[in-house]
Amino acid sequence: MLKRPLLIAGAALFMSSFAADACDISARVSIVGNEFPAIQTVGAGAQKCVGGEVAANLTADHQKINVAGMSGNPAEYTSAIIANSSIVALMNEDVIRPIDELVAKHGQGLKKNQLITINGKIMAVAFMANAQHLIYREDVLKKAGVQAPETYEEMLAAAQKIRAAGIMENPVGGAYKSGWNLAQEFNNMFLGFGGEHFKAGSSQPNVNSDAGIKALEMMKSLSEYMNPDFLTHDSNATNAEFRAGNVALMNMWGSRAATLLDADGISQDVKDGFNSAGPMTVGGGSIAASTLWWDGWTVAKNISDAEAESTFIAMMNGINPAILNDPEIAKQAVWLLDGYKPTDAARGVFAAAQMNTIPYPMLPYMGLMHSALGAELSDFMQGKETAEKALSDVEAAYRASATEKGFM
């Protein structure tokens, strides 16, 4: 006789304990963002909220659609997950809102270094850090009798030994795909040589310099040890080469390194030999030839306050520190969340942060510089023109686009 009430009471107890950390929202939430494991985790966490519809559009093409999707009134997307490079486009177009009040109201548990403050206003909440750093095959290096390289010069020497020993024909991997990836590799190397993209305090380009030429020459030397198709390889293709056992040394994103071995058909040699280290320096410099990144989320400007509040609550639920209890999730990224303990996979990014690596520049015109680099450097990499010519082409292309966008 008592069975039924007991069951109901039990169910109610279960529900209420569940509701304690479930989140209630009252309005629509719609998220747009990149797709890699950590962001998928955040999106899934936000979608656990009840009371309003939570949609997530996570795609590698997010930055092609986020500005357009937030420009309308009301905006289609109430939140964009972005990085320090892509927040600039949203700031330039004025489509995200300051969230100081929401942080005060619902942001308990956020650490101060998670708050992205621009011009005195909180514009985004960061949840993970990222950087490119060395990934290597310990077994292959040992066979060739070399240590894990700490500089790009050592990387070249190691590659030479591996090739000479007949272990691998093209031991170096790199995301050198013409376009965004190639430009990013140049940025790394250029900053490592002490270069600055713009003349101090202005939007005048400054890449056609000694540092620029040295950076390109180093990239060219590295490419001699890469698969000849390197100009078509993005980070996915480079990872595939590593997984297939064709690559022993590469500069790879921390966010991808953690899950690099989570794929089918990887040989035991690759799994056992996998290791990571901090970013390398170049040309005797002390600054790592890499950039620091954060990923975070924003709240759209052109939406109702109720939607903004619901979005904030849902996104907070997505980065609830409780997600770190799952070891699979904990290793997905270098989380900036309270209670995060670095896993093995986080070693490279932590080393990057300790080496005073320069954060990727958050300048309104950096995106144009990045595009110009991506379009104009491939001729040099193919040996069709000199480094000086390539860099002067970059500056000319940048000037044309910066003039158009009103930055010059």
Partner: protein, 341 residues
């Protein structure tokens, strides 16, 4: 037809054309002669996980004021058309003055984005279009002479390349031509060169793209020609046979003249299509070796900072390019029409 009847008959089509063709073109034209306002920049402190730093940002209040007074942006006339990313007038005249022979001049010119794109686009258009017409005609003639039980099946399989989505089709070929792919490895074996990589050489990439273009476009030509062959006057063929014409002579003097209007039609459509070549460049990751006007538009819109004016300008130039390409064919059609009248 009475003018009144014609008016009511044409009205729905006319409205649709106005809405979906004329207005967008007008909007693109307007965008191409305007650019965003001068950015009002301020320096402020920004903080994040890696500490604080002085940073340049856009002053939104000032920008909003500028925007509300002139919502279209700055009028710049044809400046964007003449800048380095498009016609590059200054760079071209510079190159003209500083080079002393044509090959260095063209070398300089082909380094500029617009001319580089045109170089590939025109080569692609003028090799792919004739090749696919010839191949389409050959397929149509052979299918037409097959036994009728076989025809349906063969037609279905010949149409497959056209049915496959261009992006998917090019990705499939891209992986097959990879140095570790089935065709790439076969070519390495054939050339006795283990380092042969089609994707690393501009010439090979162009050939790959052209082969893809012919593969993808030939079925369209085939279908049209095959339909044309069904209306072939049998008595003419028979009289040609009685006159002792060989198979080749029958094709040359009876079949091809009969199909000529269709050849013009296919050429027209394919010139237009090939001039807008885009998917294979993305699918083959070929942007280091080959670009096109459509690819430039995609790239301008896809960067972290969107360049709407640059993209609009390239769009207008694409429309002009198509118009110039089609003008001989259209002129001919117009003359034929006049003669018939």
């Amino acid at each position: 037809m009475k003018h009144r009847t014609f008016f009511w008959f044409f009205l729905p089509t006319g409205l649709a054309m106005l809405l979906f063709i004329a207005l967008p073109i007008l909007s693109v034209l307007l965008q191409s002669v305007h650019t965003p306002h001068e950015a009002v920049l301020i320096t402020s402190e920004s903080c994040g996980p890696f500490g604080c730093s002085e940073n340049t940002t856009i002053d939104h209040d000032a920008t909003r004021k500028l925007k509300s007074t002139e919502p279209m942006g700055r009028f710049v006339g044809l400046n964007i058309y003449f800048d380095r990313a498009h016609l590059a007038v200054d760079q071209v005249s510079d190159a003209w003055r500083t080079t002393d022979n044509f090959s260095t001049f063209f070398g300089e010119i082909s380094d500029l984005p617009f001319y580089r794109a045109m170089g590939f686009t025109l080569t692609y258009t003028f090799t792919v279009t004739p090749l696919l017409i010839i191949l389409g005609l050959m397929i149509a003639l052979s299918v037409n002479s097959l036994h009728r039980h076989l025809k349906g099946l063969v037609i279905f399989f010949s149409l497959l390349p056209m049915i496959v989505t261009p992006l998917i089709g090019s990705l499939i070929l891209f992986w097959m031509f990879d140095s570790r792919g089935i065709l790439g490895s076969f070519l390495q074996w054939l050339a006795q060169d283990p380092d042969l990589s089609l994707k690393a050489s501009t010439l090979h990439t162009w050939i790959m793209l052209i082969i893809y273009g012919v593969w993808h476009g030939a079925p369209f030509a085939f279908v049209v020609f095959y339909a044309g062959l069904q209306t072939l006057p049998q008595d003419q063929i028979e009289s040609a046979q009685i006159d002792g014409a060989s198979r080749w002579e029958q094709v040359r003097f009876v079949v091809i003249p009969h199909l000529m209007p269709l050849v013009t039609f296919v050429a027209l459509i394919q010139l237009m299509d090939n001039f807008r070549v885009f998917e294979p460049i993305v699918g083959f990751n070929a942007e280091a070796h080959a670009t096109s006007l459509s690819w430039i538009i995609f790239n301008d819109l896809g960067g972290e900072t969107r360049q709407l004016s640059a993209a609009a300008t390239t769009s207008v130039m694409t429309i002009l390019g198509v118009a110039i390409l089609l003008s001989p064919v259209l002129l001919r059609a117009w003359r034929d029409f006049k003669e018939k009248k």
